[in-house]
Symmetry: C2
Subunit: 378 residues, 2 copies
């Protein structure tokens, strides 16, 4: 069979494979080189990033009415090419998966025992059409070396081993981090990505964020007369909005990561809101007090007393409190909102939160300035 197959073009192989019953398809896949397997699995219709693309078909399967001795004989015969003989799969006459047994159980059992006596009919299987992320989650949950993969009829079509999962998990984390940095995820590693591709992955978000920043221009223009009357007001804007962005980026990262490691789930949003309201307020008070003191000292040290030190410093301090609290709340709530509308929470990038906080920060700052400095600046 292997010889027949290797003389066919991949397209013809798929045509042939589609005619074969499921378990024969797997035997044919087994006989191919791993490069050919990749090609054929793609053509068999497993979507990109699906478990079907990740699995290997090199595993050992046995029947429940075999003895331990016969099974070990079978493993001895077919185990050489298997990815792992650590777990052996039991299938029924239709090649449906009915149990998985650890190799320990064979070694530790009497050779004349029947496989069905060892079976507990409890197993965890992955679906070939599911996303590879699901496989990562299952491995992290069940602490297994390998997990079986079944199709929609429950027929065993492959296995996924934990060493492949480590690579998938690493790639996913990289994608998450790139999203969180305000860019689209690269398809290959950094060193293998062309400059052209790199620019393509980065420019979209840079332009979107730039357009978002035009709101800061418009916001500041709205306070033109205040700025014209007291240029000093402008000095503190980058400091204030950046402080809000910093607290937002901390909060967003904490929540995105907690969501992606299943430490918290969507239903926890209220608890997170309360926590972040409180921690944002504490952080806001601390930075706000320090900001008040340093700003007061800074203004006093400037040549020429303009007599506004205290009120200007108070404006800065209050604004710092406001933006840090707001940054914290938007940074922690946006990942939930993203998730709710079906987006990856990691889209809540630090730059995204920072842009939102920049606009809001300007409004907060000038509103407080207008209130506290009214009458003091002409």
């Amino acid at each position: 069979m292997a010889d027949v197959m290797s003389n066919l073009e991949p397209d013809d192989r798929v045509a042939l494979l589609e005619e074969l019953p499921g378990h024969l398809t797997q035997r044919v896949l087994n006989s191919m080189s791993s490069e050919d397997q990749v090609e054929v699995k793609k053509l068999l219709g497993y979507p990109e990033e699906s478990i079907g693309r990740l699995m290997t078909t090199n595993y050992v399967r046995i029947k429940k009415d075999w003895t331990v001795e016969r099974s070990l004989e079978h493993i001895r015969q077919y185990g050489h090419s298997a990815e792992t003989v650590n777990v052996i799969y039991v299938v029924d006459e239709q090649e449906r998966l009915i149990d998985d047994l650890r190799i320990n159980q064979f070694i530790l059992s009497n050779p004349t025992q029947l496989i069905q006596e060892l079976m507990d009919h409890q197993f965890t299987a992955l679906s070939a059409f599911e996303d590879q992320e699901e496989a990562v989650r299952m491995f992290s949950k069940y602490d297994r070396i390998a997990l079986p993969v079944v199709d929609s009829d429950g027929i065993l079509v492959g296995i996924v081993t934990v060493d492949d999962i480590i690579d998938v998990a690493e790639e996913e984390t990289t994608e998450d981090m790139q999203l969180m940095a305000g860019m689209n995820a690269l398809e290959r590693v950094y060193s293998e990505t062309s400059i052209f591709m790199m620019v393509r992955k980065r420019i979209g978000w840079l332009l979107i964020l730039f357009l978002g920043q035009m709101l800061t221009v418009t916001a500041m223009a709205a306070y033109n007369s205040m700025l014209a009357a007291a240029a000093m007001l402008a000095f503190f804007i980058p400091m204030i909005i950046s402080s809000g962005g910093n607290s937002g980026s901390q909060a967003a990262t904490l929540i995105i990561r907690a969501l992606s490691t299943d430490d918290i789930t969507l239903i926890d949003w209220k608890r997170v809101f309360t926590r972040e309201l409180l921690s944002g307020a504490i952080l806001g008070v601390m930075v706000g007090l320090m900001g008040f003191g340093i700003t007061y000292a800074w203004i006093e040290l400037q040549p020429g007393d303009i007599g506004l030190s205290f009120m200007q410093a108070l404006t800065v301090g209050c604004s710092l409190f406001g933006v840090i609290l707001f940054g914290n709340l938007s940074g922690s709530m946006l990942p939930f909102i993203m998730s709710k509308v079906g987006l990856d929470p990691a889209v809540t990038s630090a730059p995204f939160v920072a842009t939102l906080v920049d606009v809001t920060g300007i409004i907060i700052y000038f509103s407080i300035a207008m209130f506290l400095l009214r009458g003091l600046i002409s």
Copy 2:
């Protein structure tokens, strides 16, 4: 032995263990509950985050002059409590590790063969005193289910299994992400961290970054007379410095992650510099052109023609080019510098780069404005 031990206090056990030869220590450890093992391993001096703290002592070890049959008998007898029988370790008379054999080799071999005939004397072992990060790297490199752990004399003291490594890798990624977001890494997961602890982990960087931002205040104050003459200059500052921060945060994340996944190493810094110089220039031109156009249109749409539209828009466009290029270069080079001075590259947080770019961006913007708008603003 186990009975004797279980009647002793942990401190006494350690005293006793320290008197014992290495291999006996391990046997004693094996006989303890896993809670007791944790306690004793701590007391035996394996540092926190070391492989010694991660390893389990529940493994099966055999001698090279045993037959396959005797070995299987031994595995049958002692394998029940072992974390894995997928890999069996061969030790010499001094309990030094001399080889590791996969269980497949036993099952696939003739029962009368001697273990030494199966041996290839090639194995990879971890050191008990090394950092757990090293274990993650080794597992990712060697695709193994378990790796043996030896002490400084080469004596087998435990094994680490891949499922524990997944958890360690996940924790390390979380720590990296938290550093990259401009905060100290949490010791526990988000949901288990108290608000007080959360504030402690976040406030340090927030205050440091705030102090860094005082440089933006000082930088802006230096251009006080220009600002007083043309308040409009101030409108574009948040937009320009944020664009630089965005490009810097993209670059920093790309490089930090590429370094931590061993995609690139420290010696690649020159190649990275060239790449990021080029991609930064391309991104800068694209955002700069768009910035010029939009700013020009935006000023034209404002009520009251001030006749500065073109030059002001040109100033904004050129500044965008400058800050994006500078952000890209500092974001990509800082992780290398951090690494060089012995810090974690992830300390190059997005907020850290953003603060650096904020200060530089203000200087770039006002310098260009001074050059292009000289004489146009009084």
